[in-house]
């Protein structure tokens, strides 16, 4: 039996059980053990991912594939999870919900994501999505003494389960019209079909797409995300806005990039409208936010829209650009949320922008890092955020979607306002009371790693794009 394609999820699953046991044996009050073991599991899984990079191939009767595409996404999930686990303990301690189960759930969520990226059967993709979602429902409500966290969890759960129904119905219709849930077998059936499938198959694929873009928070299925991102514990928000979006995009690319899946339906026209709406709505809503957490939540909707531009382009540069974008976006957003958490000194969850007044004088390093994240999110060269946008936009131009790119670029200009506002507040505004920030070495380290990664990914953007280009060969 060839276990190479599922090596990463195997390590994560076994690791989650080890973390659970280690937490039990360490006794009450000592949660550092759980965190350290979880970090070790993630590092180990990361080494395993790199060691078998792209050598998995299809396995288990074509149900999973450990190709380069899966490996690339596994690396994204594991890097984000590593940074999130590194930053979590101080938040959990402050909020009085420092339990070892947090790390177990996080590992299980990553386990689900790896199956979303490597699954080549709708059943596996569905199970991966649900493993991820159910873990996340709990993680969002993890701060259970806080009503906002509870409300966020309930909203996410009810809407998530509602859209799971649509996703499942979509799978049922696709299965009904082709007689298989295997992506390869479905594609073969579609190619061989003498009569156009239309009807059931088209509706099925549309429902499937709706289920996936709900997780990415594309307008008009975005309405949950600002509230859930706002109410969830900040490290979980960072995790959701990056890794979850990446996982859902991975599944969408796997399913919809197969040429047979278009069925002559103009998906690109429908997605064109959604992309424009997503970018614009996210941007306009972010303009008026006074809480940095909500501002970043809306900005992540906008970034999902930019990624959708690359998805619509449907060419080699678009797909590899999306991989590059998702990779670098992980560092940008986790870094920004990390600093948002450090600066929120009141600890009441208001995350007001006015907390940033004179941060440049109070803590120059933190202010510099935050500036890097904001500039990268805006898309200022030579940072990684610029190249991500540049690749997906040029892919869209190559594919002939010039107006889409014009609207995207205009929106990038609007976004300069709310990203740079943070910098203006940090360096220009006078603070009323100067209080020292809490110093948390591990969180500071995570922010530093994110900052360095963004600069380096920007400087060596060509090499990462090359890796991404090799990774997408199996899915296009």
């Amino acid at each position: 039996m060839n276990l190479t394609p599922i090596l990463t999820p195997l390590i994560l699953g076994a690791g989650a059980i080890v973390v659970l046991l280690a937490d039990l044996l360490a006794g009450k009050g000592n949660k550092t053990v759980a965190q350290v073991v979880a970090l070790a599991v993630i590092v180990f899984a990361g080494i395993a991912t790199v060691a078998v990079w792209g050598r998995g191939g299809p396995a288990f009767y074509g149900q999973v594939s450990g190709d380069g595409f899966a490996s690339f996404f596994n690396l994204i999930f594991l890097l984000v999870a590593f940074l999130v686990v590194l930053t979590s303990p101080s938040y959990l301690k402050r909020s009085g919900s420092n339990y070892g189960e947090y790390y177990v759930l996080l590992l299980l969520a990553v386990l689900g994501m790896t199956f979303m990226a490597s699954g080549t059967d709708l059943l596996i993709i569905f199970l991966g999505l649900e493993t991820m979602s159910i873990s996340l429902y709990v993680l969002v409500g993890f701060h259970k003494q806080r009503p906002r966290s509870n409300e966020a969890a309930l909203k996410y759960l009810l809407l998530g389960a509602f859209f799971t129904g649509f996703l499942l119905y979509g799978i049922a219709l696709v299965y009904g019209s082709t007689g298989s849930t295997n992506l390869e077998a479905i594609a073969d059936y579609v190619k061989a079909a003498s009569t156009p499938l239309g009807g059931y198959m088209g509706i099925g694929l549309a429902l499937l797409l709706i289920g996936l873009i709900f997780k990415i928070a594309i307008v008009p299925f975005h309405f949950w995300s600002p509230d859930v991102y706002d109410g969830a514990p900040t490290p979980v928000t960072a995790f959701m806005s990056t890794a979850v979006k990446a996982a859902a995009f991975a599944a969408a690319m796997r399913i919809f990039y197969h040429p047979a899946m278009t069925l002559g339906i103009p998906w690109d026209k429908a997605l064109w409208v959604l992309a424009v709406l997503t970018i614009t709505v996210g941007n306009l809503a972010a303009l008026s936010q006074s809480s940095i957490k909500r501002m970043l939540a809306y900005s992540s909707i906008t970034h999902a829209g930019y990624l959708l531009v690359g998805f619509i382009a449907r060419n080699e540069l678009g797909a590899s650009g999306m991989l590059y974008y998702l990779f670098s976006y992980g560092f940008m957003n986790v870094g920004a949320f990390t600093i948002a958490y450090l600066v929120n000194r009141r600890g009441d969850g208001s995350y007001s922008l006015s907390d940033y007044a004179q941060l440049g004088a109070r803590n120059p390093v933190l202010a510099l890092l935050m500036s890097i994240f904001m500039l990268s999110l805006t898309g200022i060269p030579p940072l990684a955020g610029f190249f991500g946008k540049f690749y997906v936009f040029s892919a869209a131009v190559q594919a002939g979607y010039v107006w889409l790119v014009i609207i995207g670029v205009l929106n990038s200009v609007i976004s300069v306002f709310y990203y740079l506002r943070v910098m203006v507040i940090m360096y220009m505004r006078e603070a009323e009371d100067l209080k020292d920030l809490e110093r948390v070495p591990s969180v500071g380290f995570a922010a530093l790693v994110c900052g360095l990664a963004i600069v380096l990914l920007g400087l060596f953007s060509g090499s990462l794009l090359e890796v991404a280009r090799n990774s997408i060969l199996t899915i296009l």
């Binding site: 009503p147 509870n150 309930l154 499942l168 219709l173």
Partner: protein, 101 residues
């Protein structure tokens, strides 16, 4: 032949729509949750009918998996509703209003 595949599909679609209507119109979180379960089970019916139509077991296997997933979702969901009830003494979603939608 009666009942044919189409009869099952119509029933499944009708149940799915009843469930969706329940989610959209009811205010009690537990009723909404029950409506979601109805939607998922409507899909299971479609899966079983398609499996019979194709003479293929993978549809039935899908039903088992989807039941397991739905059970896990209920376990987590009811826990979240209980946690919310401790704060609000209510499971009415109109009371879930700390954040704007």
């Amino acid at each position: 032949m009666f009942p044919s595949l189409n009869h099952y599909l119509i029933l499944s679609a009708a149940l799915f729509c009843i469930g969706a209507a329940g989610v959209l119109t009811r205010k009690n979180a537990i009723i909404i949750f029950a409506s979601i379960e109805l939607m998922l089970n409507a899909v299971n019916l479609a899966f079983a009918a398609f499996a019979r139509h194709w003479g293929d077991v993978s549809g039935q296997i899908f039903v088992i998996f989807s039941l397991a997933v739905a059970a896990a979702e209920v376990a987590v969901g009811l826990a979240i509703i209980v946690a919310l009830f401790r704060h609000k003494e209510s499971v009415n979603i109109d009371d879930v209003n700390l954040m704007k939608w």
